[in-house]
Amino acid sequence: MTFPILSVIIFSPIVGALILLLMPAERKTEIRVVALMTATFALILSFWVYLNYDQVAAGYQFIEKYAWMPQLGISLHLGVDGISTPLLLLTGVVMFTGVIISWGIDDRPREFFAFLFLLASGVFGVFVALDLFMLFFFYEIAVFPMYLLIAIWGWVKTREYAAMKLTLYLFIGSVVALIGALAMYFNSGFETFNMLVLETANFSPEFQKIWFLPVFLGFAVLGGIWPFHNWSPDGHVAAPTAVSMFHAGVLMKLGAFAALRVGIMLLPEGAKFWAPLILMLATVNVVYGAFIAMIQKDLKYMIGFSSVSHMGLVMLGFATLTKAGMTGAGVQMFSHGVMTALFFAATGMVYDRAHTRQIPELGGMMKPLPWVGVTFIIGGLVSMGMPGFSGFVAEFPIFMGVWQVKPWVAILAVISIVITAAYIMLAIRRTFFGEMPKELEGHITPISAMDKVALGLLSGLMIALGVFPSIMVPMVETGIENVLRLLGGA
């Protein structure tokens, strides 16, 4: 009996949340410390899994399986492969930095962290679940706390609207996908939700063609695929900093990941049939998101739409169904996760001090907030796909994959890089350089050492991955090879 590390990772946030709920609400400092300890614990464990994942052996590792409901073939079946391991680490990192960034939350911090941890545990669960039912179970758990986190602690102006919109969209998506999953369950004839078994089901091509779209798009809603991306920028803007980080950093990956795991891996024929459509939608995502981001005045909306654009790249990579493209998409999930987490953290720090996110009302932030400025610039370079940073490592293979399938799409999508460069550079210049508006003078207090830890960790990861892609890419590749095997050869 080996140490059940994956279930410990999933359940440790829940345990942390329970401990928090049992603590008296006035002891805010103790509550924060407990929260940080929980997050650190999860980070260490996920890092341990990352380090100990055996790339040579590949496949699913750290497998755990407990019967949950044998009569319907549901089991608590956990395991990670090359695709989910980096995402596990990502979740750990975002959770850790999210807690650090939220140190200053003063309104009911106990409930805040408890909900945040519930969310985290759902996210962990989705990434490691090898059972279709459990995947849904955790997926829904991850979606819901979002509502309360945004509605209670969000930006007063739009939080109710945004929270409701977000929850409705995601709920629709997930239940539509759920119907597809149930159809798979009954059609396979195996009477099991075990995805490893369902992979071998050989569904008829007609079946796959019918069900691929609901399943893939149902999940991809959370990945922000056009035209179902509408919830995402609103949600990003309304959410409090840590939640935006989680939301853009991890939750959107959840959608993309589930779309890959359930949509493409279980219904490969359907994926092949519909790939051109997905490719098209994703291209719209990429280009449209970048254009819309360019005209935003609100810093958070800008980042929100840039997330739409970047998640489009992930979908684009998946839709190529080539090794390069999908590997890039896998890396892009990690890279984008870290990058947006950083963006939102930095934006949050600016907003906390300036009380505005309108780009024209900001300026000269570099001087009082050098850490924020520099890390924001690093994030910007990642998002432009600048070589030497993780964004390049991810985007290059994606475009390579697209070349192999539809060169004109590659050319079209590449336009987004120029647009991204333009709006990111403009935003950086207007926010961090130039003259500081009079009314802000003296209000910009320096950030705390803990904030620096968070910013440093996030930007360090992006640089490390950019300079040494081999710390992650081969791992993702092993996962993708398995996907390709299911897609039949190649």
């Binding site: 019967a67 409901m69 709920f171 009954f186």
Partner: protein
């Protein structure tokens, strides 16, 4: 003739009757003083009955007893335990309800109604069934109109009585048709339907039952009655009583027209249409409610629609999933009404907007509300999620994907109004923002009942395996 299974088959009913008698005597002895303590007696007694029966009265082989009047099987057993559990928590809720809690007769009426439900779940003879339905209904009429000084309550009692009586009459007419054409009232012996007869029977009985479980378009009594009746009674009415109706529905229809019979497609189609209408009407109308009891009334109409989806699929999985759904639903809705009872006892209001700031007034109560409402929505890790998944799974398996999609669209509407309430609870502030000055104290019975229910909702939501086992073993008896 006589054997032990005859006693075991009606052991819960016997014990319930004894408990009722005990309360009657105590009520006389205490002469109305400290009547509230009778609630503890009732709840304690029901708990004892529940535990005892769980261990003693579990049937091994389905057997017909009392000359085929009653069938001693898992389906009946599961539902009986559910009713007793519901009655136990309802009596806890009743304790602190004005005019209800310190009157012995209210508990006795509750127990009698529970006996009726128990018999509904196990009756296999049309006459027995009818008697059971009336045994359930009459005490409920009285309980609904229990608060004589309250106009709404009186109206509720009268309305319920009138519509209930009419529904019973229609159903009785259906029964009489069966007897007239086939010459028997024993469910197992009925056979040889002709088409017009089958159609008439299906329609008449369905109308009767549709009233009981408030399916659209026979639901219009429900919101008024639910709103007017004392809140704990509303909880009982909307859960146990509805579950009893489903038990009858499944036993009757699957017994009369089994899946293999020629008429099965027609009644499932009728029910599928009814389910669609019910879900849609319930959810859409609930959207615009400003009174939380009316909102929950419509939501419970909608939930009847979801459960019906499972019945329609006409399979063991379907019936099992309905049973599971009802278990989850009973727990959840009881909790919801319990919370409202606790809230309005202190604030005297049932308006949704008055729930503003509740999370700061009593965070435990708000958390319980979160659990209950999310379970109603169908979010994991709460019971409602698993229940919904199983019901939809049954529909998908029966190749009724469209019905599952209707269900999904509806649960999204549901999500919206449940969230709206939670938003008020968690997000909005009281006028003046001084929630700390207006706490909502919870009396002990409420605290116990709500903790049990919240834990139960979580338990069946997470460790659903054993519960589903029970539900599917109940279903197995029908096929």
């Amino acid at each position: 003739m006589f054997n032990s299974s005859m006693i075991l088959a009606i052991l819960p009913e016997i014990l319930l009757l004894l408990l009722g008698l005990l309360i009657l005597i105590l009520d006389i002895v205490l002469k109305g003083k400290d009547g509230r303590n009778l609630g503890w007696v009732a709840a304690g007694g029901l708990l004892f009955i529940l535990v005892l029966n769980v261990f003693l009265a579990k049937p091994t082989m389905p057997t017909d007893v009392f000359g085929g009047m009653i069938r001693y099987d898992m389906l009946g057993y599961v539902f009986k335990m559910l009713f007793i559990f519901g009655a136990m928590l309802t009596s806890l809720f009743m304790m602190d309800s004005e005019k209800l809690g310190n009157r012995g007769e209210s508990y006795i009426l509750l127990l009698v109604a529970t006996i009726g439900m128990n018999l509904m779940a196990s009756a296999t003879d049309l006459i027995m069934l009818y008697l059971a339905i009336e045994t359930t209904s009459i005490p409920m009429y009285i309980l609904a109109g229990f608060m004589r000084d309250d106009k709404k309550s009186t109206e509720a009692g009268l309305k319920y009585l009138l519509f209930g009586a009419m529904a019973s009459t229609v159903m009785l007419y259906g029964f009489s048709l069966i007897f007239g054409f086939t010459g028997t009232t024993a469910l197992g012996a009925i056979s040889g339907f002709s088409l017009p007869l089958a159609l008439g029977v299906i329609v008449l009985i369905l109308v009767g039952i549709a009233f009981k479980i408030s399916l659209a378009p026979f639901h219009f009594w429900a919101p008024d009655v639910y709103e007017g009746a004392p809140t704990p009674i509303t909880g009982f009415l909307s859960t146990a009583s509805k579950a009893a109706g489903f038990a009858v529905l499944m036993r009757l229809f699957i017994g009369l027209f089994p899946p293999a019979s020629a008429y099965a497609p027609s009644w499932t189609l009728i029910m599928a249409v009814l389910a669609t209408i019910t879900m849609t009407v319930g959810n859409v109308v609930a959207l615009s409610q400003s009174n939380i009891k009316r909102m929950l009334a419509y939501s419970s109409i909608a939930h009847a629609g979801y459960a019906l989806v499972g019945v329609v699929s006409l399979s063991e999985l379907g019936v099992g999933s309905v049973t599971f759904y009802l278990i989850a639903y009973v727990l959840t809705n009881l909790a919801a009404f319990g919370i409202i009872a606790a809230f309005s006892k202190v604030t005297g209001s049932e308006k949704i907007s008055d729930f503003a700031g509740m999370s700061r007034r009593n965070s435990g109560l708000a958390l319980a509300m979160l659990v209950a409402f999310l379970s109603l929505t169908g979010m994991p890790p709460f019971g409602g999620f698993v229940a919904k998944v199983f019901v939809f799974a049954a529909a998908v398996k029966a190749d009724m994907v469209w019905l599952a999609i209707v269900g999904i669209l509806n649960s999204i509407v549901g999500l919206y109004y449940y969230l709206t309430v939670l938003k008020v609870v968690y997000l909005h502030r009281m006028e003046g923002e001084n929630e700390e000055a207006h706490p909502i104290p919870l009396s002990r019975p409420y605290a116990i009942a709500l903790s049990v229910l919240s834990a139960g909702i979580l338990l069946i939501g997470i460790i659903f395996g054993p519960w589903f086992n029970i539900a599917s073993s109940a279903a197995a008896g029908l096929f």
